[in-house]
């Protein structure tokens, strides 16, 4: 009873934050709304007996990634005019994707209703830190390693990009290209990419 009420509270808050994230013109408000979505999701994780996922959700998404996003928005001071023009072309695509998502959600709802109901085993400690760690390093070792390599690649990529900006005198492949082309032209191009 109480958990149902709490679920609807957090789920409603998540949906409200998601809507306000999409509709706000100010990118900073959108970012804060996204933080609200993450926090209410983590509350739902707690109620699903997955405290580790909940804590990591707050620590990684709300505490680290979104702080960086807010940081970038504060530094760039984005103009909301440009974003509106760009979105005009994407109405049809967004609408189509939305319909697909709706159908998917309804299908999941239908499948859950059709599935035979059985009481869950309370003694299983799936959400506990110990069981997550054990299954990560035994059953799911290969995916964990693959994700690790991916993250390493991302770190190296970030280092190379940052180096190119701050120390252009280093002879990297991208710097040779920078010499070949007109320097100001490339600089403009880079600014657009940012």
């Amino acid at each position: 009873m109480a958990s149902t009420a709490l679920f609807f509270l957090f789920a409603g808050f998540a949906i409200m934050c998601a809507i306000s994230m999409v509709y706000h013109k100010n990118p900073l408000y959108s970012a804060i709304s996204l933080v609200g979505v993450f926090i209410s999701l983590s509350c739902i994780y707690v109620m699903l007996a997955a405290p580790f996922i909940a804590a990591v959700q707050i620590l990684i998404y709300a505490g680290a990634i979104m702080v960086l996003v807010v940081f970038v928005i504060m530094l760039l001071n984005l103009d909301d005019q440009g974003t509106k023009n760009r979105l005009r072309y994407l109405w049809a695509l967004g609408g189509g994707l939305g319909v697909v998502l709706l159908v998917q959600t309804l299908f999941i709802f239908y499948a859950v209703m059709k599935a035979p109901q059985q009481a869950s085993d309370q003694s299983v400690s799936v959400g506990k830190t110990l069981s997550i760690g054990q299954s990560m390093y035994t059953v799911y070792l290969l995916p964990v390693e693959i994700v690790g390599v991916l993250l390493l690649m991302a770190i190296i990529g970030a280092v190379i990009l940052a180096r190119r900006l701050s120390q252009p005198q280093l002879e990297l492949v991208v710097d040779q290209e920078l010499d070949r082309r007109n320097e100001t032209e490339l600089e403009n191009e880079y600014r657009v990419e940012l």
Binding site: L28, I32, P51, A55, L59, G63
Partner: protein
């Protein structure tokens, strides 16, 4: 009796609410008197007397300050982003206070017989834990909630629409993101030795370990944690977000009256939080070696002495903060960043690797 099921259902909630209230009052009183202690100690360090007008020895100064904050005029900058400007101090204080629910204030009391309670409320209650909520991932919970506190500072800087505030907010978020990594990495060693993320479990693990306190096997981790904690709470020598000589007052330049008081309180509550974490992770929390020979574990005197030992350790850390503030000059911003990324983080990671190897060979 019609009321009986209602009372029985409401009882756990009432107990939790009372526990939250007591812990809240206790934390806020300690924080209020930390402010007074800071002014007094700084006064002694600088050869002054410090506040001594309100009450004997200045003991009513925190309440006088609070009254002053309430009655001051609340100025809101004209071109600020109003909603975020009001939201920021609340986020800062709420995120500072929330970790309170997992603090292990003392050992569980098991000797009391609760059957005297009416309506059979005491049935099935064997222990009275001195924590509000015992969750499996206490360490991650505290780190996560405090990391959300960065928003309070960053948003305050942005929404004030002032150059000084923005610079303070940017500096502060950059600093807190950087030092959070070292802070998190320094905790991993303790978590590996204890084998749990639960704060109470870490204290129990220290009682059964060889050295009693984790500060001995994890001395490097302790030093890294202490330094990173100074940076996380924006204290001297890492108080660049509010460097007076450069930024007036940093991110809270445009805040006045009670909204400024919220930021001020959040800073001191954060100091309290990192002191609690330091005590629990490295100094054995409420554990006093040898106390179980004097009092039976689980009795009320044992719990009380342990609780005051816990508060005493925290106060020692708070004093250390004030002492350092009175002693050290401020870093430059590039020094701060270089120190965090090129020294503190590698040391913390090396500590993690060495601890892993040692734990692996010890457990074989």
């Amino acid at each position: 009796m019609l009321m009986e099921p209602v009372i029985k259902t409401a009882f756990p909630f009432v107990v939790t609410a009372v526990a939250v209230l007591i812990a809240f009052q206790m934390v806020l009183m300690i924080v209020a008197y930390t402010v007074l202690a800071e002014r007094k100690v700084l006064g002694w360090i600088q050869g002054r007397i410090g506040p001594n007008r309100v009450g004997p020895w200045g003991v009513l100064q925190p309440f006088a300050d609070l009254l002053k904050f309430i009655f001051k005029e609340d100025l809101v900058p004209d071109k600020s982003t109003k909603f975020i400007y009001f939201l920021a101090p609340m986020v800062a204080l709420v995120c500072a206070l929330m970790p309170m629910v997992v603090y292990p204030f003392g050992p569980a009391i098991t000797s009391v017989d609760w059957s005297f309670l009416p309506y059979g409320l005491g049935e099935g209650i064997r222990t009275l834990p001195l924590t509000i909520a015992q969750i499996d991932v206490g360490v991650l919970f505290v780190l996560g909630i405090t990391s959300v506190g960065v928003y309070g500072i960053a948003l305050a800087g942005w929404s004030s629409n002032s150059k000084y505030s923005l610079m303070g907010g940017l500096r502060s978020s950059a600093q807190m993101i950087s030092y959070e990594l070292a802070l998190g990495a320094s905790v991993i060693g303790v978590v590996m030795l204890a084998g749990t993320l639960d704060l109470g479990g870490i204290i129990y693990a220290q009682q059964t370990s060889t050295f009693r306190w984790f500060i001995i096997p994890q001395f490097v981790g302790f030093i890294v944690f202490l330094i990173a904690a100074f940076a996380e709470t924006n204290r001297v020598p890492f108080d660049l977000p509010e460097a007076e000589t450069e930024l007036v007052a940093g991110f809270h330049t445009e805040y006045s009256a009670l909204k400024f008081a919220l930021f001020f309180m959040a800073e001191y509550v954060n100091m309290f939080t990192v002191s609690v974490m330091c005590t629990v992770l490295f100094l054995g929390g409420w554990y006093v070696p040898g106390l179980s020979h004097i009092f039976e574990p689980g009795t009320i005197p044992y719990a009380l002495v342990s609780h005051f030992a816990f508060i005493g350790k925290i106060c020692a850390f708070l004093f250390f903060y004030i002492w350092v503030r009175g002693t050290l000059p401020r870093f430059r911003f590039d020094q701060l960043m270089n120190f965090g990324w090129k020294f503190l983080l590698p040391v913390a990671l090396a500590n993690v690797i060495v601890t892993t190897v040692v734990v692996f060979f010890l457990n074989r």
